[in-house]
């Protein structure tokens, strides 16, 4: 006696984005906290030391935020004009920022007034950074020059006038105190050594350079400009390694995840893309409401901070890890000793003869009804709200099963207004789904056959029927359009394929068929 075989619920391939480990990792952030700043957020920089505050440069201010605070813990407001590029020193004590008024200011994080003012540039300073020995500052300006300054006596050490356009990005080496890289709107990147008077390496990016990034090993340099993100191998004399074109607007900012495995790029097209740094494939994508100007990641990827042109700062914090939650829960659930000993702890010994209990088959509600041949009730249980909404494939599978048994008509008939409208609303929601259409069309035909006599008696049902009709008309138009597109594509494919000359077989000359026109088309859409 075979047991009852439950209704087979087909597993449909998931449409849209595939779930990968990457997406799970990057999706594991809370909903973003949004903070309104005074103007476009041009730069975000994390302090390298705990408590990992971050400096947000927006309009004429620099705000310092704590990692978890939503209010600024400190504000620097002593700028005459728009501030640029607020950056921490590697000990987290000092902060440097450029300004539209060409003055570079150095702040103590605990103080308010600028400790030093470096005057010497003639135009806005967009780039500031500390060298790795912590005593010098690099600046780059719209007057095409970049300078090195000494902090203790605020003197200008060196000036380089090699770029031929605005310098908008630059980065200092963390391993060597004399090396730094600048990028300019003249499409070039230049590597400078403070010990000599000239640049030691020039790399052409091909587009105005917006952002630069050095890998922690400093063997690779990443530059962003135009729609391109390019990676250069510095150890091989600046050879291009890879060029990424995944944004459709200018890429404005770059960041590395804390372990250096992933590269993030933000763009004016409102996306942040995450690349795998071994394969340089996009593994994840974040959407933001406005064009992105700045981007930074907290250590250990604890939060992602993005600044946008509409002066909104968006902070995403990572959700607490599930393992910790689970272990905590497990400890709470552990049963008391007595129960534990009584029920669970008996382990059969090697020679014990085990008498297995017959396993009781668990059936879903609709299967129980189907087993008893209660067709109407089976359909009712399959149309319960949560199944209908969450898992329409179950409802469709039950309808298909009823159809197979030849009892779908019986199940559909004899329903009152409420039940009928429930059925119709399910049809309206799922009829045009290509996966369910073959089954549901049969059911819809039957419903129309059964209930055609009562049309006009209930306004609810009539309204739904009209809705269904308009839905079908729209679907027809849509299909027609699709077929047209398909036809166009076919002609394009046919014209692009080379004609193959077939070898003439000995007797097939007599068969009168023209040769060599195989309608072979390349890999098709996967059916399952």
């Amino acid at each position: 006696m075979a047991s009852y075989k439950p209704t087979n619920i087909p597993v449909y391939p998931k449409l849209g984005e595939k779930v990968t480990e990457e997406t799970l990792y990057w999706k594991n952030y809370k909903t973003p906290i949004q903070i309104k700043e005074f103007g476009a957020v041009s730069n975000i920089h994390f302090s390298p030391v705990t408590p990992y505050n971050f400096a947000v440069t927006a309009f004429t201010r620099i705000h310092l935020y704590g990692l978890l605070s939503q209010e600024p813990v400190k504000t620097f407001t002593r700028f005459k004009d728009t501030a640029y590029c607020g950056r921490f020193r590697s000990d987290g004590q000092l902060l440097v920022a450029g300004c539209e008024d060409s003055v570079v200011r150095l702040f103590d994080v605990s103080g308010k007034v600028a400790l030093r003012m470096f005057k010497g540039h003639t135009k806005a300073v967009h780039v500031t950074d500390f060298t790795s020995d912590r005593y010098q500052i690099l600046t780059g300006s719209d007057d095409y020059t970049c300078c090195l300054w000494d902090i203790p006596n605020s003197a200008q050490l060196n000036t380089y006038q090699e770029h031929t356009d605005y310098i908008r990005c630059g980065v200092t080496s963390q391993l060597n105190r004399d090396l730094f890289v600048t990028g300019s709107y003249d499409h070039s990147l230049k590597v400078f050594d403070a010990r000599v008077d000239k640049s030691v390496m020039t790399i052409n990016h091909g587009h105005p350079v917006e952002s630069l990034l050095l890998y922690p090993s400093e063997g690779l340099l990443v530059s962003a400009g135009g729609r391109y993100v390019r990676v250069w191998d510095l150890l091989k004399g600046g050879q291009p390694l890879v060029s990424l074109k995944n944004h459709h607007k200018t890429v404005t900012c770059l960041a590395l995840s804390s372990n250096g495995q992933r590269l993030l790029s933000g763009s004016l097209d409102r996306h942040v893309k995450v690349y795998n740094t071994t394969s340089y494939k996009v593994v994840h994508n974040f959407d933001y409401p406005a064009a992105i100007l700045s981007l930074a990641l907290a250590p250990e990827d604890e939060s992602i901070v993005v600044g946008m042109t509409n002066s909104i700062l968006s902070i995403k914090h990572r959700k607490p890890s599930e393992e910790a939650k689970e272990t905590a829960g497990h400890q709470r659930r552990r049963p008391s000793y007595r129960v534990y000993a009584h029920r669970k702890s008996y382990v059969p010994k090697q020679d014990d003869y085990l008498v297995s209990k017959p396993v009781r088959q668990h059936l879903a509600k609709y299967d129980k009804q189907l087993k008893k041949f209660n067709v109407s009730k089976a359909l009712d249980t399959a149309l319960e709200t949560w199944i209908r909404g969450r898992k329409p494939e179950i409802t469709v599978a039950v309808i298909r099963e009823l159809d197979r048994r030849g009892t779908l008509k019986n199940a559909l008939a004899g329903r009152d207004e409420q039940e009928l409208s429930r059925l119709l609303s399910f049809l309206i929601a799922n009829l045009v789904d290509a996966r369910f259409a073959p089954v549901l069309i049969t059911a819809a035909e039957m419903i129309l056959d059964i209930y055609q006599s009562i049309i006009g008696q209930s306004p609810v049902v009539d309204k739904q029927l009209l809705h269904l009709q308009s839905l079908l008309e729209r679907e027809l138009d849509y299909q027609k359009d699709l077929l047209e597109v398909l036809g166009m594509l076919d002609t394009m494919f046919a014209s692009s394929l080379p004609k193959i000359e077939l070898p003439c077989s000995g007797i097939s000359t007599s068969n009168g068929l023209p040769q060599g026109q195989s309608t072979a088309s390349r890999p098709q859409v996967q059916v399952n």
Partner: protein, 814 residues
């Protein structure tokens, strides 16, 4: 039928076991069922076939226990004989022959001395046969007396009443009761049609064993209980209704407390007699129930099913055993296939299943559920059916196609791919592709990859396309394993592809598009060449193997068999024959072509490179042969005979139109089979156990096997249940072993004329013989007093002997 002296066509396995109602023995240990020309005896506990009672020369139409002797059974056959068997030993006791009537359909009912045989000349007659009591084995039945005439040809429509007082027979709308004592018959008629379109036709009948009550089953699912039928007018009947379609079998339990019924629904219903509202159900037994039978003690029921199955049920609660034959159904949809791992024959069996049938053991191995849906037993309902299946060369993948056709435009198709699971030793579903094609699938084939993994499947369909399916690794890491997806879709001038075939090294794929054969390379999916031989569409394609792999053979509908040479892309030869099936032997270059010629099928076996056929067999069977398969042999034959050489590597099995599984057997094989069976009979007396080998060697050392040496094998051969307890035998047994060595030395010592202890030993020896020989007389049944009582003195003496003998005998042995 035999054309070549040494190659013969023989029936091979897979006979029907559900043709007639099986009989259960009184002790419920054996089950007898008619199976073709023999009666098979099954054990109800182990489901194994114990032996077949052979002797009839035509289809057996009835098996029945002899009421007066519970170890004997009657069987009757279309050859006009009734035979009496001892079914535990498989011996024919007597047989009766009737020359007078030309029996073509018969079944038997037995009551005391009368044997009632339903025989038919032109009109169905129930005939009483009196078997004369004489010692001869062959009896001519002369005393024939017709009891009833014009009865139904279905044996279920006639039954004996209480203690054989009357016999009931049902015709379509009439119930006839004949009383033996009064020699009077009564007839009761039913109206032709009820109001609700119910059909009143009788389908089966049974009688209550102790009361005057007849139960009849009807076409519309009703059961009527007839009472008081010895009056023409005052008869009554009550109606029971549960079945929704025809009741096919009815049976009372021996005490008459319950009535069992079964039908198409495959539910065994148990009605309480006189409390008909109470009933028990045993659902989902398999195919439709065709017969029910009950063992005489009422402990076991057994039901025969339309899918060639007998189910044994313990007291209407639990299915205890299932005896399953080869399911042939009405139609074989899939081809015959061989599973490469177990060499089992695979074809579609039960609805929605593939059956794996062992040809060596003539036993169904298992059924693989392909459709995985609850089967609804309802006539006229369109069900999913397995229509196509294919194995890859190593047996690690199975592809199946199931389809269900509801209305003309709506065809539901599923292509499923199954991977062999080494742990479960079975196929596990890997990928389901719903609606793989828009039209019906016409062919399915895997490439022949000798080593490594198969990663491709090609299917052709009536929608004008062929598709290549590829096993692809999962795109993302969290998907559990590789699955199949579409790799390529090919078409040719919107013609319909009918067949496809891979070349032996899988470098070429030939697809037959009606009149045109297209040859593709699977590596890059380029069309290499086209071949054609108009008019007539290509029906069958086959590449040559081994040295003939350059040839491609095609059979066309215009009665042509063409052979193309692929090196020159030209036609090599063509011959005119109506090929219904073209097959290639996977282990040799041979090909078999079944040709339909003038109402019967001829077989030609040939090599594509040679003009002369290796073997031909005219008029193999009537009708077309559309299913055949080459089965690789386990041991190669080394026959040099030209006509049978093609059978060296493989067997050829084929199914005729009447669903008989036939095969070819060579003379040498046949001789070997008979020889081995003879040898079995000779060497039957001593079992070749390791123990026997040990003892046998021992015995060979002795020249004069006498005394206890003779008794040893007797002791070993004795059935265990008639022997005294082991503790009792142990000392004797050990001593008999010791003595057998001592004999010669004993004689030596006698010469020296020594102690009386030896005499004592002689005595004990004699005693032992008598004791051992005693059990031989015991099978007659007095095993209760098996252990002969020893007197105290004897026991004491024995003990003393043991102590005495031990030391010096050991010295001698060393």
């Amino acid at each position: 039928m035999v054309e070549h002296g040494d190659v013969r066509v023989v029936h091979k396995g897979g006979s029907k076991i559900n043709f007639r109602e099986p009989a259960l023995s009184t002790d419920s240990r054996f089950l007898l069922c008619a199976s073709g020309e023999s009666v098979k005896v099954f054990s109800t506990a182990t489901e194994e076939c114990l032996h077949a009672l052979q002797g009839h020369t035509d289809l057996i139409t009835g098996v029945l226990l002899r009421p007066s002797n519970h170890l004997q059974a009657y069987s009757c056959s279309l050859d006009g004989t009734v035979r009496l068997w001892d079914f535990t030993d498989g011996i024919l006791i007597r047989w009766a022959k009737s020359n007078r009537v030309n029996i073509w359909c018969c079944f038997i009912y037995v009551w005391t001395v009368h044997l009632h045989v339903c025989a038919c000349t032109e009109l169905f007659q129930l005939v009483a046969v009196h078997l004369p009591q004489c010692g001869e084995q062959l009896v001519e039945a002369k005393e024939l007396s017709a009891v009833l005439s014009n009865i139904s040809s279905n044996p279920a429509a006639s039954a004996f009443g209480r203690e054989g007082q009357y016999i009931v027979s049902a015709k379509p709308l009439q119930l006839e009761v004949y009383f033996f004592k009064k020699h009077k018959s009564y007839s009761f008629f039913l109206k032709k049609d009820n109001q609700k379109g119910g059909k009143n036709t009788f389908t089966c009948i049974t009688c209550h064993p102790t009361e005057d009550c007849i139960a009849s089953g009807h076409e519309d699912g009703k059961i009527r209980l007839w009472r008081n039928f010895n009056h023409r007018k005052e008869y009554t009947y009550s109606t029971l209704h549960w079945h929704h379609s025809a009741v096919s079998s009815l049976r009372f339990t021996p005490e008459g407390t319950n009535l069992l019924s079964g039908g198409v629904e495959s539910v065994l219903v148990q009605w309480r007699y006189n409390q008909e509202s109470q009933r028990d159900f045993l659902p989902r037994l398999g195919g439709a129930i065709t017969h029910i039978s009950v063992s005489p003690d009422g402990a076991l029921f057994c039901t025969s099913h339309s899918d060639n199955k007998i189910t044994i049920i313990q007291s209407c609660v639990k299915v205890s055993a299932v005896i399953q034959g080869l399911v042939k159904g009405d139609r074989i949809r899939t081809d015959l296939m061989i599973e490469p791992r177990s060499k089992a024959l695979v074809l579609n069996g039960k609805p929605g299943h593939l059956q794996f049938y062992s040809l060596q053991r003539d036993k169904l191995l298992y059924n693989l559920d392909i459709v995985q849906q609850e089967y609804i037993h309802e006539s006229g309902l369109e069900q999913f059916e397995v229509v196509m299946a294919a194995f890859d060369a190593s047996g690690s993948w199975l592809a199946t196609v199931e389809e269900r056709k509801q209305k003309a435009p709506e065809l539901e198709l599923n292509l499923k791919l199954w991977a062999f699971d080494d742990q479960k030793q079975s196929f596990v579903l890997n990928t389901t592709i719903s609606a793989p094609h828009e039209g019906r699938i016409t062919a399915l084939c895997f490439p022949h990859v000798s080593d490594g993994q198969t990663t491709m499947l090609v299917s052709t369909s009536r929608d004008g396309h062929f598709k290549a399916w590829q096993l692809a690794a999962p795109a993302h890491t969290e998907d559990e394993g590789p699955s199949w997806s579409c790799d390529f879709l090919g078409a040719y001038h919107s013609l319909v592809p009918e067949c496809c075939c891979f070349s032996a090294d899988s470098s070429l794929l030939a697809v037959g598009f009606q009149e045109v054969v297209t040859v593709w390379t699977p590596a890059s999916w380029e069309l290499l060449t086209t071949l054609s031989q108009p008019p007539g569409a290509v029906r069958d394609l086959c590449f040559g193997r081994l040295s003939c792999s350059k040839y491609l053979l095609g059979a066309t509908t215009s009665r042509l068999l063409c052979c193309w040479n692929l090196l020159t892309c030209s036609l090599e030869w063509v011959t005119s024959m109506d090929v219904s099936l073209l097959l290639a032997d996977p282990l040799s270059e041979n090909m078999a072509a079944f040709c339909f010629e003038a109402g019967s099928t001829d077989l030609f076996v040939f090599k594509p490179g040679e003009p002369r056929p290796l073997f031909s067999h005219k008029a193999l069977c009537s009708g077309r042969v559309t299913h055949a398969v080459f089965v690789p042999r386990e041991v190669m034959l080394e026959s040099c005979d030209e006509a049978s050489q093609w059978l060296n590597c493989s067997h050829l099995y084929f199914l005729t139109q009447s669903m008989d599984l036939l095969t070819f057997i060579t003379k040498a094989e046949e001789d070997k089979l008979t020889a081995s069976s003879k040898q079995l009979v000779v060497s039957d007396d001593v079992a070749m156990t390791p123990f026997h080998l040990l003892l046998g060697k021992h015995r060979d050392q002795l020249e004069n096997p006498q005394g206890s040496n003779v008794s040893l094998p007797q002791l070993l051969q004795m059935p265990a249940h008639v022997l005294p307890s082991a503790s009792f035998l142990c000392s004797m047994f050990v001593q008999s072993l010791l003595i057998s060595v001592n004999k010669p030395s004993e004689q030596n010592k006698e010469k020296e004329e020594e102690m009386e202890s030896e005499k004592e030993e002689e005595d004990s020896d004699g005693e032992m013989e008598s004791r051992i020989s005693r059990p031989e007389h015991m099978p007659s049944g007095e095993s209760g007093c098996a252990a002969p009582a020893l007197t105290k003195e004897e026991v004491r003496e024995l003990r003393r002997l043991k102590k005495l003998d031990h030391s010096w005998m050991k010295g001698l042995l060393d």
